[in-house]
Symmetry: C2
Subunit: 288 residues, 2 copies
């Protein structure tokens, strides 16, 4: 059942901790090494038997690994790729869990080519409002979607390596219980802007727009719609920065919809409005 | 325990049905009459023992009632007030459950004054995505907020009657288990635009803006944020129409927030953005 001899997880927060625990619980790795800057998290992970070895040194942590997973805020990932790369063994797979893929993919592609070092970006669609190793869960990825991104390469050798990396990353997430879908980096980041980043921005905006006087009166609709505005602004400002071009496109689309509807409300074009609201309802009904 | 001799509920959907069932379950009314246009709902309500008498005739249904509750979409309420008014007995309380109060309050105030006929607008903050008598629930109002609106009158006799109506409506909702808060019509409708109607419009807009390609990939954040876009577009276009001025103000405020943030994203002013997102998070954290 062991699939990896030595896995290194960089960053032992909610996601990294859950990956390490899932690997351990499923007996998928002989040795699990944790790299991090939070000594309490590293100590907890060793004490829990989740990881075998903890280090704050990236080079030491990834040397000899056949799988390295970078679990950090998106703004930090490009630097981590560059830090890990020189220490990676031939045949090793390097992947990550960032919710925006362009920056890290560009960083990986700019690294000096080394035969057999494989990189594929990943984005597990799993999370929680909670954070930190204490909130980690070995079943976090079970039944959830994991996205793996591919880039369009033209060089035949690069294509073969990229395909091998995508296959290896796909196998990794599948082993953790996820359903895997492969997407281009562009489609991933465009989709993320629409269905995740814009939604967060809109929710923060609804809270900001509301009269504080009215807030004690909020009903379930407001609470549900703005739940994601409980998320860390530091994390999300970072994500917005990483995906700026796609997010600006998404915001422009949203603004155009709201402006059209605002015009219809002003002009009393209720039938036009009702028709578009009805189409939105039908689309929404197709989701679980 | 009986507080009302004869209560008439006009409209036996989710809200009207729940009111009738709550009155019955709590033994608060000797006779409960249902007025409606849906014969199956009326038959179900009689068969369930929820109402004693069913009629499609408003005049017949409200004659002799000491409490009449109008439970219908907001666009219909002004007409129902005018239809019920001539049949109301002196001392009767007329109230409603509409989520926008201006239209019905204006309709009631335009009715020829009759000594001792009391009107106060109500808005129970309780509901469900489900609708119809079959979804009704005698505990729907238990522990929930009910808003009762007051208008600023200058004529001393009108002030006294309005105060009596507000007190009677307050007693009614309290008897159903609600916590009651009295607001001016203007504050109610402004608050409703911000915390309810704008939120629905924004959620429908997020669904409309999203690439259909990306929708199979949605995570919990998108699903929660757009849950209210499952609501009936007919009901909500009607509510938007009723509260047009306040809704347009709310949309303009929201648009201003989004435009400011869009400018900051474009200009890379991440610290300004993060600061406002952080304030929104803090406000949101104060809500349950």
């Amino acid at each position: 059942m062991t699939r990896w001899r030595h896995v290194t997880v960089v960053g032992l927060g909610l996601i990294g901790g859950s990956i390490a625990r899932a690997l351990r619980a499923r007996g998928l790795a002989t040795t699990i090494v944790g790299v991090g800057r939070s000594r309490p998290a590293l100590r907890s992970a060793v004490a829990a038997g989740t990881i075998d070895l903890a280090t704050e040194d990236m080079g030491q942590g990834v040397t000899g690994a056949d799988l390295v997973v970078l679990c950090a805020p998106v703004g930090v990932l490009p630097g981590l790729v560059r830090a890990a790369w020189p220490h990676l063994a031939p045949g090793a797979l390097l992947t990550d869990v960032g919710s925006v893929k362009r920056g890290i993919v560009e960083a990986a592609e700019a690294c000096p080519g080394r035969d057999g070092v494989l990189f594929a970006g990943s984005h597990p669609m799993a999370g929680s409002e909670r954070s930190g190793f204490g909130a980690s869960d070995p079943d976090l990825f079970e039944g959830r979607l994991a996205l793996v991104t591919e880039t369009s390469r033209t060089d035949a050798r690069a294509v073969a390596a990229a395909q091998k990396a995508v296959a290896a990353a796909t196998a990794f997430w599948a082993a953790l219980g996820s359903q895997v879908r492969v997407q281009s980096v562009e489609a991933h980041d465009r989709g993320g802007a629409m269905i995740s980043q814009l939604v967060h921005l809109a929710a923060y905006g609804l809270v900001t727009s509301a009269d504080e006087d009215a807030l004690p009166l909020v009903a379930r609709g407001f609470a549900d719609t703005t739940r994601v505005a409980l998320s860390s602004e530091t994390l999300w400002a970072d994500i917005f920065r990483e995906n700026r071009p796609a997010l600006l496109d998404a915001v422009a689309r949203y603004r155009a919809v709201l402006e059209r509807w605002e015009g219809w409300i002003r002009a009393g074009r209720w039938e036009s409005l009702e028709a578009e609201l009805g189409r939105a309802r039908e689309v929404r009904e197709k989701l679980s």
